[in-house]
Amino acid sequence: MEVLYFAWVRERIGVPREWVETSATTVAALVEELRAREDRYAAAFADLSALRVALDQELSDFDASLDGVREVAFFPPMTGG
């Protein structure tokens, strides 16, 4: 699936988006897989309380299922306005 990163998550991981082959069924499981990959992922995902996730461009949470999801995005709390 397509995985997107924004703000300092993007900076830590080093790419704005990438294709990830995964059999993870939840966001939390996907995060575990990414953390195990390389230090830059471990650094980006060190503190999940400082992260937000969107599934197919809707805000979601880390317990959510990835069933049918095409696009996952990770980012810090938003600072619009």
């Binding site: 461009q57 995005a73 600072t79 306005g81």
Partner: protein, 148 residues
Amino acid sequence: MRVSVQGERFELGLEAEAFAQANTSAGAIVTFTGIVRQADQGGLVAMEIEHYPGMTRKALTEIAQTALERWSLGDALVIHRYGRLAPGELIMMVATAARHRKDAFEAAEYLMDYLKSRAPFWKKEVLADGAENWVASKAEDEDALSRW
């Protein structure tokens, strides 16, 4: 209702005037405008605003649609820029039109509270010495949502 996510500058005067002209049956119009201000310690060179193109417009439209229904607004406007902005430039604005002032004010505050914490924008301060700081979200901004 109009929602615009744009890199280009906009003018408060032109936007507010057009909004008022289109809503003379409203009675009450409120606008809020956010401006890049000089950082507390000085030395702010630019504010870089990143966003999530696929999601931004959809999120803003949902927020505005909710405000329209909840406060029986005659109209609402949301403009938000992204990209590199200099101090003094306008970041965003919202406008609301309603029969009564209470609705226009509350809806504008609602829009702002949700834009702050639920619209996918991230701000980075660029300082004169080259330092770059991602603006941290504030607990008070998250708390502000609980009143709605």
